[in-house]
Symmetry: C2
């Protein structure tokens, strides 16, 4: 009989969205006359930009003719797409070699699969609260994780504890779910700490496009020394509305070389290249062709238009919560608003309260870790009209 | 310092295609007047069918409007696509629950990632020669593998050795690279052996669309009992020319339940579902929408047209080798011809010989395992004209 990977037994059931669906279904059944406003899901809703759509159609058309047909592409991604990503970095003032960029179907795959490059006896720091994939993918392969606490005191931006050794450090900035964003000085502290510990930072920049302040780093490589200690994951999901179209990228600098137990050098770049070549067959050409267009000046302009739409929603929510005197994080450089549940409620109580009283559905913070249990996440991906209506109801319910 | 996954040091360099490229580049440089005919790469070349192209365009168009826009889809795949695959199985006389089908970006990802479900102390049988991903993905996670020998004597269709216990068994039929295809009786022996050993068969059916004889099983589920012991991987790469468009699917029957060391039941279906939900974000909607069209009657007709084109190439090669008295396998229910290198050459000698004498590039069998070292793979994915010309040269060179 095959021995199975029993680490799976240690996973908590990922019941968060199932439970939300369950509670809303019951409510809807009992109150069919009261339509819900859903501000819970972290998924985009605006259509793709027209030049990006055109590129998708072009990619399809190339499949119609033997002369332009695309079969297997390079597992690392097409040069066209890698160069476009490198140029995007350049436009943000960051130098990244096109050759260090690996195009993929999304940051979820890459942040999950990167655990394969490491042994199972590392000290792994993971913020709490955070995107659950980091924890789950480590538990699945038998790793122990050490949580680093995000809370109101550190504004959900935990900083290194010099007494704590680390080998691998996960950082998500702007953070999902809290919306908190590290500044350059703070990231520099993390990079220095990583270099001192000879640790690797796994930096998730999936929400970088929401950063409005050019002084805030949209890439860890904006920080001196990061090429020697950091892998960066990014995605077109939020940047370009590709949650259903699927494309991401991961930067693994060639400088990331460590020593094996027998003294041999091992390059993380070479290992990731081998991992992708063996277990991935490249991202759809059609999608990659459009991804290259995303980073053209026209594509960026189109994406920005959608981002501004979401940001206006975020602003509206932030203004409302400020007005109501409710403490919150995010909402400026992030599509997420992370607010403290009022009146000492825990996050599930808050969920039920908002559902029953004003029919607004959000996400209980408990789903993102122990330190989220008194917080609540709203997202700016709804329509402006719905967000406006939801905020009107917030004022009615929570105004003094 | 992070401890890295040192199993990567045990991987052999995957130098096969690099070495082929290197030798052909040298030859081309020295003989610019002698154009090469490439029959080496296992990649399709014919354009997609027109109804499938139309579905791709439709999928793109849905991304243009808020009302039809698709964001995150189910990690398991859209119902439309899963149902289409289930209906395709049905048309082949095989019952597969739509619910047991997981849509992915390709069989390479799934056959690679499936190792995650198992512990590292299983007896794993892998044929030699075979598609290198099975071996490499097991080595990468620290597993030992036991080779089962394919050779001329068993027509490259190894059968179980009842004295050998197994926990996990890889079978690829029609086989890459040998083109050999198990019949139903042979697969039944494997299924019975697996059931007796309580083993899991990992069945790769990526080339099933090349099977011409309806008596030959295009799915392991055509065999009684297979739902209790087998996972099946399949792909649209060869079936529908999706090598660059990217779509595959994996069937994990709910019957596959095993016992953990503490006596708990563990379902491979639930584990794969959890794996995909955690580390995969679903296949591009645009691609999935077209994949559903592939399995419509119109889509199947279009795909068949391309398959017939490749099959005519395979027939031409098979006829030529027969005429020349060269022993070969495959070529009938497979796009691959696997022939014994003439005059006792090893496969790299044969490579150089064909390159220098008749400028035909193929793939040395040594790249697929120890037992391939005196064999050579040709593929039927070239143009008919090139295949014809290559066979004319074979006759000139190897005719008595």
């Amino acid at each position: 009989m095959p021995k199975l990977n029993e680490n799976y037994l240690k996973l908590k059931d990922s019941y968060l969205f199932a439970e939300i669906a369950h509670r809303t279904a019951i409510y809807t059944k009992e109150h069919p006359d009261k339509p819900l406003i859903r501000l819970g899901i972290g998924d985009v809703t605006r259509p793709l930009g027209s030049s990006i759509l055109k590129a998708l159609h072009e990619g399809v058309e190339e499949m119609a003719d033997t002369a332009t047909f695309k079969g297997y592409g390079p597992e690392q991604g097409y040069t066209e797409t890698r160069d476009a990503v490198a140029a995007y970095y350049k436009s943000k003032g960051v130098d990244v070699d096109s050759d260090d960029i690996f195009i993929s179907d999304g940051a979820k795959s890459d942040t999950g699969n990167v655990t394969e490059l490491f042994a199972h006896n590392n000290v792994i720091l993971i913020p709490d609260p955070v995107y659950p994939v980091y924890v789950d993918s480590n538990i699945m392969c038998g790793n122990q994780v050490t949580y680093i606490k995000g809370d109101a005191e550190n504004e959900f931006l935990p900083m290194p504890d010099e007494r704590q050794h680390a080998d691998i450090i996960y950082i998500c900035s702007p953070n999902n779910p809290t919306g908190a964003c590290y500044n350059k000085e703070q990231l520099k502290v993390w990079v220095d700490y990583a270099l001192k510990n000879e640790a690797v930072i796994l930096f998730d920049a999936a929400y970088e496009a929401f950063i409005s302040d050019p002084e805030l780093p949209g890439s860890i490589y904006a920080v001196e020394g990061a090429r020697r200690c950091a892998i960066e994951f990014c995605s077109l999901s939020k940047t370009a509305g590709f949650t259903g179209t699927r494309c991401g990228y991961t930067v693994v600098p060639k400088e990331l070389v460590f020593t094996a137990s027998d003294g041999q050098s091992m390059s993380l770049h070479a290992m990731w290249n081998r991992r992708q070549s063996t277990k991935y067959n490249g991202t759809s050409y059609i999608v990659q062709h459009a991804a290259a267009q995303v980073f053209s000046s026209e594509g960026i302009r189109e994406c920005r238009e959608n981002l501004e739409y979401y940001k206006a929603n975020a602003r509206l929510m932030a203004d409302t919560l400020s007005e109501l005197g409710i403490r919150f994080f995010g909402g400026v450089h992030s599509p997420y608003i992370w607010f403290e549940c009022p009146d000492g409620m825990d996050s599930w109580e808050c969920f039920d309260y908002l559902l029953e009283e004003i029919q607004v559905v959000g996400t209980p913070g408990a789903g993102f870790g122990e330190n989220g249990k008194n917080y609540f996440r709203l997202t700016s991906f709804g329509t402006y009209e719905n967000t406006q209506e939801a905020m009107k109801r917030f004022k009615r319910l929570l105004g003094k």
